[in-house]
Symmetry: C2
């Protein structure tokens, strides 16, 4: 098959990274269009999509369709490339978990942009400090505890059992991102989630992921992305 065309902001991991990780782990060929052609090409592309336009990147061209929304893209890829759990209850469980990852990612974004997505972080620092305090204290343990239990619900190295599926690469990214953004807080609490951390480590060892993380296709975390390290928002 021709490589998929993935469109996402070229300078950040962001939401696109969840799609990249699944494609990389599966060894499915793709072109990261805006990394090749630049951000202006992405903006131009979004404007000429017509009636079935995505609301926002990331989006993936699939035959004559354009798929947007991370959970939706990953459900499609899992089905198309034989990555999905085979039994329906497990498949449905992983889809539901992925949508909960989406919710967490939005909350992570809001730790630095709580009151206005259109303003800079520097214009909402007091509000961000307040949001981040509640996120560290209440939301991080709630989500991490939930995903820790999810990681252990079915026997095997991965959420669905012995085979990885997209929820595993997504949970890997959650751990990576939270370690980057909130290193002090994660150092304090991550020992409480050993099953999730073991899952993270298994994903890191997948050949496709190990190769990807060493490549220049993996954009370093930075302060334009979703997971940002602002020391003033972190605390043990």
């Amino acid at each position: 098959m021709d490589p998929y065309k993935l469109w996402y902001w070229p300078g950040i991991q962001g939401r696109g990274e969840f799609v990249r990780l699944t494609l990389e782990a599966a060894g499915v060929p793709y072109v990261d269009c805006a990394r090749d052609q630049g951000v202006d090409a992405l903006i131009k592309d979004m404007k000429q999509r017509g009636p079935f336009e995505p609301f926002a990147p990331p989006y993936l061209d699939v035959d004559t369709m354009v798929l947007a929304q991370v959970g939706h893209i990953l459900t499609y890829l899992a089905d198309a490339h034989d990555l999905a759990p085979k039994d329906v209850p497990t498949l449905f469980w992983t889809i539901q978990l992925q949508l909960t990852v989406t919710d967490l990612v939005k909350e992570v974004h809001d730790t630095h942009h709580p009151v206005s997505a259109d303003d800079y972080y520097e214009d909402q620092k007091p509000e961000a400090a307040r949001y981040a305090a509640g996120f560290r204290k209440n939301r991080m343990p709630k989500y991490l505890g939930y995903f820790d239990r999810a990681a252990g619900a079915i026997d095997g190295d991965f959420v669905g059992g012995d085979q990885w599926s997209p929820i595993d690469t997504s949970l890997f990214q959650i751990v990576e991102g939270l370690r980057y953004a909130f290193p002090k807080r994660m150092a304090t609490i991550e020992r409480d989630y050993p099953t999730l951390i073991a899952l993270h480590d298994k994903v890191a060892d997948l050949p496709g992921i190990a190769a990807y993380l060493k490549s220049d296709r993996r954009i370093p975390f930075n302060e334009d992305g979703i997971f940002r390290h602002y020391p003033e928002l972190d605390e043990a």
Copy 2:
């Protein structure tokens, strides 16, 4: 079949309403468990769900599974009850739109709870005022314009064509909710989205929806829900 068991907070429309509307429009029998048994029954039920626990309500018992996340529940119901668009590109399009509805619903929630989900609105009023200003000015037109174009992308009364599917009942609820929460702003801008408003009106006329809206099963909007009317957050 036995009626579905739906679990959601009994005093509000909230996210559960998107599930209720599809069930009502389709005439699919369901029990709204916590409305019958009270909120304590919901809290107790959530605690004994075991390893496949939902992260949060609403959730729906389906055979031996429990399905959570609105978009996921609606995708299941559409498939199980022959509500979904028949061709794959249209089906995928409606699933993607529903996930964008989920994103919008979260932003609506954040207009009154921008910095702390665990504190009251009264404890974050200045932050809410700032969030709501950007929501009214930028986000409402962006989402409504997007859904207006989506409503017109395929010929017919509904998003997918001549037959309604869950995205239609969801967009009905978005219009209803925004009219309740931001009546001045909606009065100013809703004329710009005639295709979306026409879709809303067609959904209101579906026999199942018309009957539901007149019944006491439709909980009135109130200030404990997602769509809240705080006059100080509204402006033309």
